[in-house]
């Protein structure tokens, strides 16, 4: 994705984002808004994780809600049943989610394209049914409640930091978002990340260059699930309650919509998508069906007219108004390997 880099576009975005993140808590005092901002941060982690798979590797998963759920339930159970601290449950939940993600990926990625989508959907559904029905462990439809906040951080007598109000979680979540962005950047710029992009664009050509296609996809799926594990753990400790309906099919669609709206294969796109959709969704909180109607419509319109999402649009805009010798790529026209049979 050289085009963005060349204008220092992405760096600029990140700097602006950093400034916004830093000053946000001083500007917003309403706890509800802080709550929404924290939710956005969690969604950004989820979206970055799915985008690694969808945008950078070309493999679509509709099972990520299930993996998000594994992260949330693991942390919830460790902390309520075994009284483990957040600092233990977070890595534990991430490891468990990553392991389950590996299994799902290892099985599912033997399939391609729409069959992969349906297989991940089947996995997601099975996980959701387990959350819903394994009442002894997961609390059934009621879920797990009274999940404790992360313990107060004490450094001698100089620092004491407790997680009591929404705002207290903000620095923690920002730290994890920054970590996720950093890791994402490292991955996509490495030889491994390039191999993923090659697979996305042309599997056969990628193989011919010595890239082990299946293995690379499974590794990326596993990395992607680690993001779900982290996000799930943060979510559970932030809301203090997890219940199955959060991790149903609609959540997978929501995360995928965030990736698509923002623009696949772009970190800024993932951030924009997560922000835009969370805000819309909170604004329409009282009428959830209206919210989902808008999601549905957005997905259709984006797929029909702007398959590259907001970032694609911005790119198109830039191309039109800022002439640059290298910025003449194909954005919204379709140049993928194969379309439908009917052309």
């Amino acid at each position: 994705m050289k085009k963005m880099k060349e204008l220092g576009y992405s760096k600029m975005g990140l700097i602006i984002g950093g400034i916004v993140l830093f000053f946000l808590p001083f500007l917003i005092t309403n706890p509800y808004f802080i709550y929404v901002v924290n939710l956005i941060l969690i969604y950004i982690i989820l979206t970055l994780g799915l985008d690694l798979l969808v945008g950078y590797t070309g493999q679509v998963s509709l099972g990520h809600a299930g993996l998000f759920g594994i992260g949330a339930y693991s942390t919830a159970l460790f902390s309520t049943k075994l009284d483990y601290s957040f600092w233990v449950t977070l890595p534990l939940a991430t490891i468990i989610t990553t392991m389950i993600g590996f299994v799902v990926g290892f099985i599912g990625l033997k399939l391609v394209e729409e069959y992969l989508v349906m297989a991940t959907l089947a996995f997601g559904t099975i996980l959701w049914l387990v959350f819903l029905n394994w009442s002894d462990l997961t609390g059934g439809p009621m879920g797990v409640s009274a999940i404790p906040a992360p313990p107060t951080i004490r450094i001698g007598s100089i620092l004491e930091y407790g997680f009591n109000k929404y705002i207290d979680y903000y620095p923690l979540f920002v730290a994890f978002v920054l970590l996720s962005i950093f890791v994402t950047r490292l991955i996509i710029r490495s030889g491994f990340g390039r191999a993923c992009t090659a697979i996305r664009d042309d599997e056969l050509a990628a193989q011919a260059m010595g890239i082990p296609v299946f293995k690379t996809k499974v590794v990326m799926f596993t990395i992607s699930s680690a993001y779900c594990g982290v996000a799930g753990a943060l979510y559970a400790h932030f809301l203090h309650v997890v219940s199955p309906e959060t991790f149903a099919f609609a959540m997978s669609v929501t995360i995928l919509t965030m990736v698509m709206i923002g623009g696949q294969g772009s970190i800024i796109g993932a951030i924009l998508g997560a922000t835009l959709l969370t805000v819309t969704s909170e604004a329409l909180r009282s009428t959830p069906e209206l919210r989902m109607m808008i999601y549905g419509l957005l997905i259709i319109l984006v797929m029909m007219f702007f398959p590259r999402g907001i970032m694609g649009l911005m790119h198109l805009f830039k191309e039109k108004f800022i002439k640059n010798k290298t910025v003449n790529t194909v954005v919204n026209s379709e140049v993928k390997k194969e379309g439908l049979r009917y052309e």
Binding site: G191, F192, T197, L204, A208, G210, V330
Partner: protein, 262 residues
């Protein structure tokens, strides 16, 4: 026909493959001498591309054996074949749609960088050295194929001849010992063809053995050391260009038709 020189860098023995009852390749054997430019020619639908796909593990042969540097690579996975040192280009150019020339060729360095995740996450010294080596390799190759000035252009936007160059550069980036070129000059104008031919001999002079599928007799006559003629998936004749030129079966099956068309 089957007394094949097994000292060659690549040896194919009794290779067969059929699709739905139609024999695309039938009991084909030939061997490529290291350092040569070896051409496989034949009319359209003679099974030439299928031979490539059988060598590179895209298809599994029904029968027969492929040996590369005395190692059996029959039915080996495509990426393992690449790892063994065989690189290829495709009949219809397969470039990544949204990458610049530099990025495209960098993709070919996978075998140099290894594509490991943890070193990338921890930015180990080894990882950084590999990345640097890969980029230097790309720079070197782009100079070699004459695309350095176009490194930041989108590969898919280049002229047809230059797109082919990018594809060849990508194939070279992985340091192959054997380069398979599938109809590399199809659809090129005479000027582009000439330039590509020069490039192939340059590549060959670097010590890379080339197996080339072609259509164009002129191209192979000038370029190749050895020619294998196939028709209906079977070997018709084999030998240096001069000999092939006068071979009665070839004239009948291939040249005769070409002359009739001309």
């Amino acid at each position: 026909m089957n007394n094949v020189n097994s000292d060659g860098i690549l040896t194919i023995k009794n290779l067969s493959k059929s699709f739905g009852g139609i024999k695309a390749v039938n009991d084909l054997s030939f061997s490529i001498t290291e350092g040569h430019i070896h051409a496989v020619i034949g009319p359209n639908g003679a099974g030439k591309s299928t031979v490539f796909n059988l060598i590179t593990g895209v298809f599994m042969p029904d029968n027969g054996e492929v040996r590369f540097k005395n190692r059996n690579i029959t039915s080996m996975r495509t990426d393992h074949v690449a790892k063994a040192g065989i690189s290829r280009t495709f009949q219809n150019i397969r470039l990544f749609p949204e990458m610049t020339v530099f990025e495209t060729v960098l993709m070919g360095t996978y075998l140099i960088t290894g594509g490991k995740v943890f070193p990338a996450l921890f930015l180990t010294k080894n990882f950084r050295n590999n990345e640097k080596a890969a980029k230097e390799r790309v720079e070197e190759i782009l100079h070699f194929v004459g695309l350095w000035d176009m490194r930041d252009e989108y590969a898919a936007k280049l002229s047809y001849g230059n797109q082919r160059r990018v594809e060849i550069a990508r194939a070279l980036a992985m340091n192959p010992q054997l380069l398979l070129l599938d109809e590399p000059t199809a659809g090129m104008n005479p000027q582009e063809t000439k330039e590509l031919m020069d490039l192939f001999s340059l590549v060959n002079k670097q010590g890379i053995t080339i197996l080339i599928i072609a259509h164009d007799m002129n191209l192979v006559n000038v370029l190749s050391d050895q020619i294998t003629v196939i028709n209906f998936g079977e070997k018709l004749a084999e030998g240096p260009p001069k000999m092939i030129h006068n071979h009665p079966a070839v004239i009948e099956a291939y040249m005769g038709r070409a002359e009739a068309n001309a």
